[in-house]
């Protein structure tokens, strides 16, 4: 340390300025470090490019070889026999996401309001880690929980006509997975509302419920919308819960009934790839290419939702 901090010797003797950048050895080290760090940034950029490139290439192959009426006919998704109805998977993803948000939006938001507005600091400190642990549960575990418990004990008890595996059971499982995300983002938004707003509201004689509903909630709305966006994006992208609990394997019929067996965009990818047939093999057939087409659709949808969510989050940061 001492040697590197001595007065630079290479400064001109009669110059009024002292070269503080140090000796050449130190300068070289700074440059080497900087180049190394920049190269790691470049690698992360390359990953994004690689994602888009790998998805786009195969997708274009896929779209140009499959006739349009095979892509959108509301019949079935059965890639192994050449039926690629995207609408089936879109409807599946939509149903799962709607069910998931019906579960996760009120529970997550309710938990967030309680933690931000009602809980004493001690309760908050105790409960918050539990939510964080909940966020760390692997999705395959919730998938198993969905087939072992949610399907038979909740969905089939409530709706006797439901099948053992259903989009609804998958949706509830995904909902449980999304709760911690929604709770933590909305709690951050609620806590970002300045205390002075609450004080002003109480000062005018408003009770707590009125303060929350009429003052705090509107002030935090952009953050809460962001939480919902991120939640929806996460629900659409969730794979294993749906793959296990929705029941359809490799192919699925078009359905608008959440109590039916079904398939989403994500579980379409996962179940098609689990087989040991053409998809896993070296040949790049249409079924193999369809994986990348689905991936591209998924990427575009979640990317858009994340960007919009991000813009909303930035709005709360700027306001206060």
């Amino acid at each position: 340390m001492t040697s590197t901090l001595t007065t630079p010797t290479n400064a001109p003797r009669d110059s009024p300025f002292v070269d503080l950048s140090g000796n050449s050895r130190r300068r070289w080290r700074e440059r080497r470090v900087k180049i190394f760090l920049i190269s790691s940034v470049v690698v992360t950029l390359l990953i994004s490019i690689a994602i888009i490139a790998s998805l786009l290439g195969q997708s274009i192959d896929f779209v140009t070889t499959i006739p349009l009426d095979k892509l959108w006919n509301f019949e079935q998704w059965a890639p192994r026999i050449g039926d690629f109805d995207i609408a089936t998977l879109f409807m599946g993803s939509l149903l799962v996401t709607v069910v998931a948000m019906i579960i996760a939006a009120p529970l997550g938001l309710g938990a967030a309001i309680y933690l931000a507005e009602y809980a004493s600091p001690r309760v908050r400190r105790t409960v918050k880690p539990f939510l964080e642990v909940m966020a760390g549960i692997p999705s395959i575990v919730l998938g198993f929980f969905a087939i072992a418990w949610i399907g038979p004990e909740i969905v089939q008890k409530l709706f006797t006509e439901a099948s053992a595996f259903s989009l609804a059971a998958a949706g509830i499982g995904v909902g449980l997975l999304v709760i911690p995300l929604i709770a933590s983002v909305s709690e951050d938004a609620l806590r970002a509302v300045p205390l002075s707003l609450r004080e002003a509201s109480y000062g005018l004689g408003a009770r707590k419920l009125t303060t929350i509903v009429r003052v705090i909630f509107p002030a935090a709305i952009s953050g809460i919308v962001a939480a919902m966006m991120l939640g929806i994006s996460r629900a659409i992208g969730e794979t294993m819960v749906v793959t296990l609990a929705a029941g359809a394997y490799g192919e699925a019929n078009f359905t608008t009934n959440p109590l039916d067996v079904g398939m989403t965009v994500t579980s379409g990818i996962a179940t098609l790839a689990s087989g040991t047939d053409q998809v896993a093999g070296p040949s790049g057939g249409s079924a193999y290419n369809s994986l990348f087409f689905l991936g591209l659709l998924l990427f575009i949808v979640t990317f858009t939702l994340n960007i919009v969510g991000e813009l909303f989050v930035r709005r709360i940061r700027e306001r206060y």
Partner: protein, 319 residues
């Protein structure tokens, strides 16, 4: 207690005294509704743990350690998770070697070195978005790049990665957790106050000296917390492994390969085995063995998560 906590406590005291003895049913119903939603969220976790534990406990009782030391098998009584544990640990090692140095150095550049221009804002936005990309898409990336482009297929075993091998799987998971490592490390670096850096610059230290000797040591607890959390995320991921070809079946052998040889042959991992067992028809597989394997996976991820949270709470500095 942070100043924020003090403010909240004050507010709660004032609210209570203002409230007095007045009875406000709407307030109470609302609060009860909120408590129910919180308890329901937490209750599901407890229910899940109870279900899995009560179904899986019999396997641990009957089999004991042999469940951990046996290989996959078609016979439920012989099936164990030795190969899966090896796979998961090996994947975690690869992630540690690849993703952590890369992620942490990217974070250092972005926080300490990068100019604040449009390009860097774009890079940051890009990283935040990468963190939101569904994991199955990373699996597709791994399939296209690591399995197909950099490796040839399983049978030949040539190419850089050798196709469907632990190396491909590990690299895929590394790419998956990289944005998370970058984001958590950036936050940890940002939490180090700027006055510390100014002090060091004042005595003539260079940028790297400031970073290495002051900023990094102070940000280390935060960085490690983020790293541990991303490791537990990597261990629990299933979908990408399906795509990059973690073994799916009830039996496989790698032949007579040594430990290093296992990195370039067929592999499996704990979540993948759970997926396989959960879809088997026999209840020995799809209830008991699955639950037991889930107990092991949950134990691994919980220990990592709780450790990380405790570490953060213990070393979190308030400047």
């Amino acid at each position: 207690m942070s100043t924020r906590d003090v403010e909240v406590s004050k507010r709660i005291t004032v609210e209570r005294s203002l409230q007095g003895r007045r009875f406000q049913p709407a307030n109470i119903i609302f609060e009860i509704g909120l408590i129910i939603s919180l308890l329901a969220s937490l209750g599901f976790v407890l229910l899940l743990l109870a279900t899995v534990f009560s179904d899986g406990i019999s396997v641990f009782e009957q089999r004991g350690l042999s469940f951990f030391t046996s290989n996959l098998s078609r016979i439920p009584g012989d099936a164990g998770i030795a190969q899966a544990l090896f796979g998961s640990v090996a994947l975690a090692v690869i992630v540690t070697i690849v993703a952590f140095p890369l992620g942490i150095s990217t974070a250092i550049y972005l926080e300490e070195y990068a100019p604040d221009n449009r390009w860097m804002q774009l890079v940051r936005l890009n990283i935040r978005n990468l963190a939101g990309v569904p994991s199955v898409v990373y699996g597709l990336l791994g399939l296209a790049i690591f399995v197909k482009l950099l490796g040839t297929d399983m049978a030949n075993g040539s190419g850089l990665t050798g196709g469907r091998t632990l190396i491909s799987g590990g690299l895929t998971l590394s790419v998956l957790v990289l944005p998370i490592v970058i984001i958590t490390s950036s936050e940890a670096l940002r939490a180090v106050p700027y006055s510390l850096r100014e002090g060091a610059y004042g005595v003539g230290a260079t940028k790297w000296e400031v970073t290495k000797k002051l900023v990094l040591p102070n940000a280390l607890p935060g960085i490690i917390t983020g790293a541990v959390l991303s490791l537990s995320r990597a261990i629990g991921e299933t979908a990408p492994l399906i795509l990059v070809g973690a073994f799916y079946g009830t039996f496989f052998t790698t032949g007579d390969t040594g430990t290093l040889g296992k990195f370039t042959t067929t592999y499996t991992a704990l979540p993948q085995v759970i997926y396989q067992w959960a879809t088997e028809a026999q209840s020995e597989f799809n209830v008991q063995l699955t639950s037991a394997a889930i107990c092991v996976l949950i134990a691994l991820t919980f220990v990592a998560n709780i450790g990380a949270i405790l570490l953060r709470n213990r070393y979190e500095k308030r400047w």
